[in-house]
């Protein structure tokens, strides 16, 4: 990522050592495992497992990569716990219901997603980390923050809402252009989802335009978040095996895995494009 805003000349070398915010994401400093205050009743020292986050829009190949990484890590002897959006026991089905109706408003939806997130974190993820499992998150608070922010909910409010979230050890952003995401999504589902095209925001009556405009807004939020939280940006337009290789390399380094060679099993071979 290009983020050297022309600092008059080339003395940027010394300066770059100073205030690169958000770079704590890669640090294993346990004191900063939460963004703000810790969750009530959680002992930070018991959380040994690492948290690895994959972010990216629909059509970025995120879920495919989570599936492949899970297999790779398991073959290397690491137990994996996954999380994602709308997967909590507590409210996942209620959010599904809300999304089907048009009655729900932005703040209610944002808070239901917040409930969904914390339910997974407290009752599934933290126990897994205490047992030393590797947690792979197929989307995390960043998607939730971006979606709510483009709908006009304040960023400070949202960062406050998620201040008890765990800080990931690695956050990958599979970045794809909205046009590419559109092609991939259309190929997969033969239609474009109401929410992924931001139709609740009345951006355009043309669904393609609406999708592109909405995903571009989300992307701008992600650019801001990437800088603030030290994302590792990955070109999501590469082939599945290329992207997977990049992710494996970074994760292997973090977990101390020497062998990064991987071929998917027969069951997952169809994903390897």
């Amino acid at each position: 990522m290009k983020r050297n805003n022309s600092n008059a000349g080339t003395d940027g070398r010394k300066a770059s050592a100073t205030p690169k915010s958000g770079n704590g994401a890669g640090s294993s400093d346990f004191a900063s495992r939460f963004y703000g205050i810790p969750l009530p009743g959680v002992n930070i020292e018991e959380l040994s497992g690492p948290l690895i986050v994959l972010e990216g829009s629909d059509g970025s190949g995120r879920s495919t990569q989570v599936t492949l990484l899970t297999e790779w890590l398991e073959s290397e002897g690491f137990a994996v716990q996954t999380m994602g959006l709308r997967r909590s026991l507590l409210v996942a089905q209620d959010i599904d219901g809300l999304l089907e109706e048009n009655a729900v408003t932005r703040m209610t939806l944002a808070l239901m997603y917040g409930t969904d997130f914390y339910d997974q974190l407290e009752r599934r993820i933290l126990p897994a980390m205490q047992s030393g499992l590797v947690v792979l998150a197929d989307r995390y608070i960043f998607t939730l923050i971006a979606r709510a922010a483009v709908r006009g909910i304040g960023r400070d409010y949202l960062h406050g809402l998620y201040e008890m979230a765990l800080r990931p050890n690695l956050t990958f952003w599979l970045n794809v252009r909205p046009e590419v995401a559109f092609d991939r999504e259309f190929k997969k589902a033969h239609s474009i989802s109401y929410w992924e095209s931001g139709r609740d925001m009345s951006l355009s009556n043309d669904l393609f335009q609406s999708f592109i405009r909405y995903q571009s807004m989300i992307k701008r939020e992600f650019e801001y978040l990437a800088n603030r939280h030290g994302f590792i940006e990955v070109d999501g337009e590469g082939s599945v095996s290329e992207v997977n290789g990049t992710l494996r390399k970074q994760i292997a380094e973090r977990l101390g895995i020497r062998n990064t060679h991987y071929r998917p099993s027969h069951a997952l071979a169809h994903l390897w494009r």
Partner: protein
Amino acid sequence: MATVTPDISVAPEAAPEKASAQRPYPGALVVVEGTDGSGKSTQLYLLKRWLEISGYRIHFTEWNSSPLVKSATRRGKQRRLLTAVTFSLLHAADFADRCERQILPLLHGGYLVLADRYIYTAFARDAARGCSPKWLRNLYSFAPVPDLTFYFRAPLDIAVNRIVAGRPKLKYYEAGMDLGISLDRQESFRMFQERILSNYDQMVETDHFVLMDGTLPVNRLQRQMRDLVRERINLEPFAPKRKKKKRHEAK
């Protein structure tokens, strides 16, 4: 268990005493707060009856009553899935739904909105469960500030007895059993209510509560309440319009 008393009274945004003129809407918001058994719901019901019998434009809303969020809350309570944080978030989602679809549109439409419990219930109760007061203040920062907040206060013993006498068995979350402070439901309820009461007390100053003595006779308390509403809220805009008379005159 943490023994440090949480500071509930994190300074809120300026909440001037008589601010209805400065609000971005023509409506007004009157809320009642207090522990279970403080008599607040009875009093708000009587206030509502007084206003609706006289034909005022009012709307009544109750804590934890949004149909959109109801099934989630019910499931969470029945299966005891709720933590302090998710308990709080579900109630905030419920509030957000009522706020965005009822309270705010009605305030903008010039209604007098009466709320049985408001955000202070979350501040007092969720902090008693261990949520950070600062986090809670942020969580509810989208809520409009009430024009008048009645705080019905009854001593712990009286309030607890009123609830316990009328109920065969206290519910799990109601009794604060999730806090793990006592295995005895009544004892747990009492200790939980004690924390909530102390949290409410801390907000009297910072959030401009009007303190009401919950031990007074019902009708006397109601008289005080009506006097205060007349004194603090300009009821004129909510009064029934006398259109008929004018029409007659025109003819």
